[in-house]
Symmetry: D2
Subunit: 357 residues, 4 copies
Amino acid sequence: MAGNSIGQFFRVTTFGESHGIALGCIIDGVPPGIPLSPEDLQKDLDRRRPGASRYTSPRLELDRVHILSGVFGGVTSGTSVGLMIENTDPRPQDYSEIKDTFRPGHADYTYEKKFGVRDYRGGGRASARETVMRVAAGAIAKKYLLQHSGIQIRGYLSQIGDICCELKDWNLVEENPFFCPDASKLEQLDALIRDLKKVGDSIGAKITVVAENVPVGLGEPVFDRLDADLAHALMSVNAVKGVEIGAGFSVVNKRGSENRDEITMQGFQSNHAGGILGGISSGQPLIAHLALKPTSSIRVPGKTINRQGETVAIVTSGRHDPCVGLRAVPIAEAMMAIILMDHLLRQRAQCGEPQPV
Amino acid sequence: MAGNSIGQFFRVTTFGESHGIALGCIIDGVPPGIPLSPEDLQKDLDRRRPGASRYTSPRLELDRVHILSGVFGGVTSGTSVGLMIENTDPRPQDYSEIKDTFRPGHADYTYEKKFGVRDYRGGGRASARETVMRVAAGAIAKKYLLQHSGIQIRGYLSQIGDICCELKDWNLVEENPFFCPDASKLEQLDALIRDLKKVGDSIGAKITVVAENVPVGLGEPVFDRLDADLAHALMSVNAVKGVEIGAGFSVVNKRGSENRDEITMQGFQSNHAGGILGGISSGQPLIAHLALKPTSSIRVPGKTINRQGETVAIVTSGRHDPCVGLRAVPIAEAMMAIILMDHLLRQRAQCGEPQPV
Amino acid sequence: MAGNSIGQFFRVTTFGESHGIALGCIIDGVPPGIPLSPEDLQKDLDRRRPGASRYTSPRLELDRVHILSGVFGGVTSGTSVGLMIENTDPRPQDYSEIKDTFRPGHADYTYEKKFGVRDYRGGGRASARETVMRVAAGAIAKKYLLQHSGIQIRGYLSQIGDICCELKDWNLVEENPFFCPDASKLEQLDALIRDLKKVGDSIGAKITVVAENVPVGLGEPVFDRLDADLAHALMSVNAVKGVEIGAGFSVVNKRGSENRDEITMQGFQSNHAGGILGGISSGQPLIAHLALKPTSSIRVPGKTINRQGETVAIVTSGRHDPCVGLRAVPIAEAMMAIILMDHLLRQRAQCGEPQPV
Amino acid sequence: MAGNSIGQFFRVTTFGESHGIALGCIIDGVPPGIPLSPEDLQKDLDRRRPGASRYTSPRLELDRVHILSGVFGGVTSGTSVGLMIENTDPRPQDYSEIKDTFRPGHADYTYEKKFGVRDYRGGGRASARETVMRVAAGAIAKKYLLQHSGIQIRGYLSQIGDICCELKDWNLVEENPFFCPDASKLEQLDALIRDLKKVGDSIGAKITVVAENVPVGLGEPVFDRLDADLAHALMSVNAVKGVEIGAGFSVVNKRGSENRDEITMQGFQSNHAGGILGGISSGQPLIAHLALKPTSSIRVPGKTINRQGETVAIVTSGRHDPCVGLRAVPIAEAMMAIILMDHLLRQRAQCGEPQPV
């Protein structure tokens, strides 16, 4: 319970269901005096928006965000910021047939057992639609971090199925619907998604998020390490099953002599640590990877049970993404921004203004 | 700041440095009436203890835990439990030569830059010695979870370097110093660690933790998902660089039709989800994997800088583990226990007593 | 910062300014399965509403509450409840002349100095209009407490100026605009308020709130005592300058032999403790008193300074209550309900379902 | 549950029972680099200590505080500070006869009903002995506030029984065992306490705490107002039944024209607000009053029930204060210091370093 908030000082609390009236959030702890308008939030909302390309869900949501409080005369006033996005294209009737069925890979079963009641319309609160408010709140953090500290947060698709995408060109990321940084992979990606749509199946993905110009000193010993808070934030995103910082799981078969990042007068000689030492930012780029499972809503028939405990077959029609990873980049960026913002304020509180890198 | 606590309802707050007077913790929210004695905690403390085998650090710490409050007449009284372990074998002089040097791969540099002051003795607060109180607190949670709900939490070494260890025998895990569940790998493990000690290098490791008999319904939408809180708890352990739930990163190249765990009247047909759907426990075994980097304190000479910014060579002597992963199993179990305990109380608060599986 | 939330498990987070677009809140930790409709909240909102009588501010606000999430099929779903009330009668132009003036007794000066920016329209976030969401959230708690535990929370005007009102008739409280429980005082009250409106001055008030049928055992040692949390909640209401539990300040000249509430087989022989012993509810009626200062927005001319630091005269016109205490009863009830709800859940988490009285 | 912490950023968590092994606390969020030694804490501990004068309990406790962590090289290191005080004069046998009796006015009954188990030795966790760690933690806050911001926090006895003590001389407060600021009342106080000891009864008291040089801007809208947090902190002290800010309950019969503190170019013309406007510090002296009930442990025989529900007579022998208010001044100062410290850090986090008055 009381699990709808994230952050200690810069705290985001959200509400809203996939096919309810509206989604919203309250952002507490926003520094005063930041110029803020809906346009500042809309850019990332549009990057996340379903229906933005033929590769994602055809659900049409304009995702127009309303700033209901906390901004006065065009700048943040220091009081809590209320945001709201109305659901303009809900189609609850699409879901009436799964009302009594627990879709495999979804939260239907666990919500029903936990609460004894379940909003079955598109997964209700468990829907990835919930992330829209994360993106809106994260956009405020991103803006502040960039303007106040020069911190830049960006993400890209690093793998989908067997197709690995190397970071070759940040600019390219925004120019294709896959958030792919490697032009040589675009054709394969297109073919893969088309094929999946044809067969009605889905695929997993790996996303990488990077923050540059993070000052040294963010992160709190011992439980609220920066990496621990990042892991929490990223793992809380729908469909995420794994989080890595820097070298991640590849450290398992590395030697200490190879993995420790040696330091010279020119700085760190490598960044296996992913920008975090002892849970505290080191001034190197902060690097996190996350694994997203394939969408469970697919047309390939599958077995499940209904509320009466009987075995039934399921085919999920409706409007769904063949790869949720394709929309996860702005979400992952937002989560990293929220965590960095929170830790920037925490560091300022205890130790004073962090020094830029 | 204020980062030394974990858990919302079952809350553990710790203090203590590697070579200070003592380490301790306060555990708040312990249900009353649980029989509790130091012996209940000692077993796991001994499993974690350095000097317990020839494969780990020869530092001699008896790690005798004192229960200072919260227990009356042999049972918990519902008030905060204070625990303390005195450091009996501190050797701060071992560290005088690294007083002005930032050891690569360690938190020396980041602590110094964050706080402007640094307890250089064995890493101070950043030392893995800090985890001793996690294990003590976790033992209380483990006891309650087992007695009250039948939940059993166990971990094992699943990989070290290139040696993969399959879960073949839970009993074996407690009978060898590697926490290895596969008898056929013991010889290779022994050879690997001996070799590392000889060359003065270290290696990474992968640990797996499993909780069985977890009731359905633990975990809070949307930020405090059970997997998100587990990721936070496990990533907060020293040296951890990656956390996976269930299939983890292998989902990246899985199809939805393959990865969704179908359900029949006989239950789930697979457990790629690792026991969590939509952030809520499903009643299946809860499975988490974590990657620990190789110890950075090694005898292989390396480059670093000192406080004056000058390049210096470093060779870390002192008493160190060639693989921190070898002591991480009890720590990871403790973290999972703390999180499950917290969520058991949260579920009880909002929805009433969770039903056993 | 991050001060817009109250409650640990049953947590209410609010946003909104007096003359902004809307006010809203998110309520986290609501038990699932409670029947809930806007009508459940509207009754208390109407009791608090300005313009409800000729004795209070003539500002016309319909205060129609929208439930945006967390309710499905007519019952709470266990997910966060989003509420919103639009401001239908904002008149920001009424305030343009105080844009540069710090009204004495108001938060104008402190908000400006704290944040460097100030929403001057009716006090912005500092306006008592903010309490509308407290009442809405409190109504949910009140409903649950009554239905689930039989707890009844009611308040009344106990003093205004020199007129003391004794609790003679609970029914009367809802039948007069003063929330007065003593029919013999109604005429005096009417005369007092009329006189104040004529001279353009205001007066303080004392409110008493009582909760009956509170189970024994609510309240947490040692900082989150039930009385401490109540004091926090009640003192956080606009204009409150004092809070008492039970005998309150009258204990200062009482003897121990007189003040301790003796116990016999028939129960407690008195209730100086106000239903709380050692910070934990005793099963006796929970009694709190609060003092509200006179409205600072009055027509009697006063001295203050403007943003340039120059002395200016001020006469506050606009739509204001001659006694804010006259609208504080539903607010105080709501705050007590939120705290009791939070502690009911906390007790259930640690010790199981509290036994009814 | 989880009620043993206070403060959001500067967070104090305590443990310990009256007649247990030790009491202790963990202080999280302490800024690094503050010179700190046990002597810094001892002064206030001695002011609070029982047995310090013939007017208070003759229990002999040296209250020697040990700093177990968080200080390195004589200064705070930014990590959590662990403090411990051993109980050197416990006499649990004094309490064996009340093992089965619920002392009226005490928490015996409520603890037993809440937890099902009760440490009956001197009240266990409910004993005022618990406040020793508040004083220790508060001393750190007091030191920082004074050195960093010039904030001075002092308290005095303002009333006991019918004897009112005016603030005539701050120096006198430390020179008499009553914390009385008015030399003309010392003889009456002495006579009152002697008389109470003779008849075995007790009396209530009123304490006033004042913070000077508080910068403008501390306090968070809307629930974590500075006054709300102060009320919480002060009401959480044993025996406190009422809290006032500034004019407190006297506002009930004040007019707005009289109560609002007018402002001129020379500053505020009065301080009915007690230094807080809209929940935010105004730069004027912060003034709080608290009412403490008479000690319930008295020799005057009284009626109560035992665990079997039978009526029994009770006479509390043992070592008790005739007026707990006489030791409450350092405790109240400590609580105000903790809250101000917390809000200083909160303000710094969101808005930057507060400007001195």
